[in-house]
Symmetry: C2
Subunit: 306 residues, 2 copies
DNA sequence: CTGAAAGCGCTTACAG
DNA sequence: CTGAAAGCGCTTACAG
């Protein structure tokens, strides 16, 4: 083809705004350059930061994100997983609400997938040391001299929440401290943190410290404590979990347990892209990411973040 | 086919985990049940809440979300738009960084699209009354008796930021108040709100009130003010814009301008789904969503939210 | 009512 | 080096 013809073709294609159809391209290359992300929810800073990390990691590998949030029931989860088939090269699935069998039944076989906080034979797994983080936090509170340390959980059916509770329990037991009336169930929302504090106040439960199973609940608790005229950390020490970005902007800045979302995102995407290119599945032994205690002013330790 | 054969086929299909390939299905039905979302960024509460709203709206119509965040330059925007082609039924594009020509050149013709805060002939548009919101806020601050009212902008190239600045200017001028040295450029990040306050303090600029062009900057400003020993609202009134969810958990709760993201999300998705089904494009006259002043304690008006 | 064919829009490997 | 054909995995309309 001559130069001038080529130029004319390119011009016309631009005029008509021709853009290749990616679905068609995917169909015969069997590459989509897309990573599917299945999350239990999209609401809140934690998932937002995770999604943001995954987006950055994906873009650095020239991939896009197909997102499915909020799977209430297992049918939702199943539908979300099935809707990904043929449209993604790989999958990141977070599903802390015990559903290994649903995952097992609906994960397209041979599709590289990384499960975060869940395990299904034949699929990759990444785990966060929730328990270790909760132990470190509880130990920190004990070391500060607190005795009546309450815990607001993230719900009975949530695996991550159960691990955090277990960490708290272990250390409280070790320290010989009572947990009677000090453990109350929440659901990871601000509202439930607020409700937990009101519950303690109504019951007349005296507290030295409150360890919420995530920062969102700590935020809700902070509002309720303040409303009740209690000062943090002078009257009650307050701690969260996740180390969401806004924690440092609170007054007082929130002591928390850092969950390495950037690292998790990078690792997940790197492994998935590698598996896609090699055409292999990932090892199902989970890589466990460790958490870090981040001491800020809300527990009275005065320190600023490491 | 007999009953027993059918049962056996279904069983085998379950065993093999057969799931239809959606890319192939899309190709001949030309329906993807997916809405593409192109945002300038994924970072921060504002985009998180928008994405969450879009996800909910999309799911209520049985659609998924294909997300492209962070388009730094116009090549990124172009690439993101092109990558959507054939993989989505419709598009929501937010691009406040003046780029109507890039949009025009890269929006697949005939693909239903809603632009938020931008206009391109032949495509749908949704706008938010940033200017009116900023006017209402500035008027509120003036009415509270503040005279030296500073404004931290969201950047010179951002259209939404320019509208908010214009609203502030209009009211300040109307009220006969000086703006000398009171307008400083930010970029919608916490960090830039913090920097703005330090700048005012270093310059010895006295302030009655600080109106940040978004809540993230107000958050950063709050930290810097507190660090400088200034109390909000006693020493300096503080106001933001966007009304992100955590504003009410700050101390003091943040006065802000509510941007109706839920309504925006619902409207966008409804219109797009309707256009997809009808096979038509949307009207390019933008529907303008109005904002609401939300008075909380950070400006000293004492009120709680309406 | 069942089964084979055509076609969605691409890309890749092959024949001319 | 160019151009026509085959095929990715579906669904839909048609022939048997």
């Amino acid at each position: 083809v001559g130069e001038s013809t080529r130029a004319r073709i390119e011009q016309v294609s631009r005029e008509l705004r021709y853009v290749p159809n990616r679905a068609a391209r995917s169909l015969n290359t069997s590459r989509t350059h897309t990573i599917g992300v299945v999350l239990p929810d999209l609401y809140g800073a934690f998932f937002s930061e995770l999604l943001c990390g995954l987006d950055q990691a994906a873009r650095s590998h020239h991939h896009q994100l197909l997102v499915a949030g909020s799977h209430g029931g297992s049918e939702d989860l199943a539908a979300a997983l099935q809707a990904m088939n043929g449209r993604v090269d790989a999958l990141v699935v977070m599903s802390p609400v015990a559903a290994a069998d649903v995952l097992e039944a609906n994960l397209p076989a041979h599709l590289p997938a990384i499960l975060v906080g869940a395990e299904v034979p034949g699929f990759g797994a990444l785990a966060v040391d929730h328990r270790g983080g909760a132990e470190a936090m509880t130990r920190h509170l004990v070391a500060l001299g607190h005795r009546r340390i309450a815990h607001v959980t993230g719900g009975a059916t949530n695996r991550d929440a159960a691990d955090r509770l277990a960490g708290y329990r272990t250390v409280m037991r070790e320290a010989g401290l009572s947990m009677d009336g000090l453990v109350v169930e929440g659901d990871f929302t601000e509202r439930s943190g607020d409700a937990a504090v009101r519950g303690f106040l109504d019951a007349g439960t005296g507290l030295d410290a409150l360890f919420a199973a995530n920062d969102a609940m700590a935020l809700g608790a902070l509002g309720a404590l303040r409303e009740a005229g209690l000062r943090v950390p002078d009257d009650v020490a307050l701690a969260g979990f996740d180390d969401i970005l806004l924690g440092r902007y609170l007054a007082p800045p929130l002591t928390s347990v850092h969950v390495p979302l950037d690292q998790l995102s990078r690792l997940a995407v790197e492994r998935l892209v590698a598996a896609t290119e090699a055409g292999t599945q990932l090892e199902s032994t989970p890589a466990v990411l460790s958490t870090t205690l981040v001491v800020r002013a809300s527990c009275g330790a005065g320190g600023s973040a490491p």
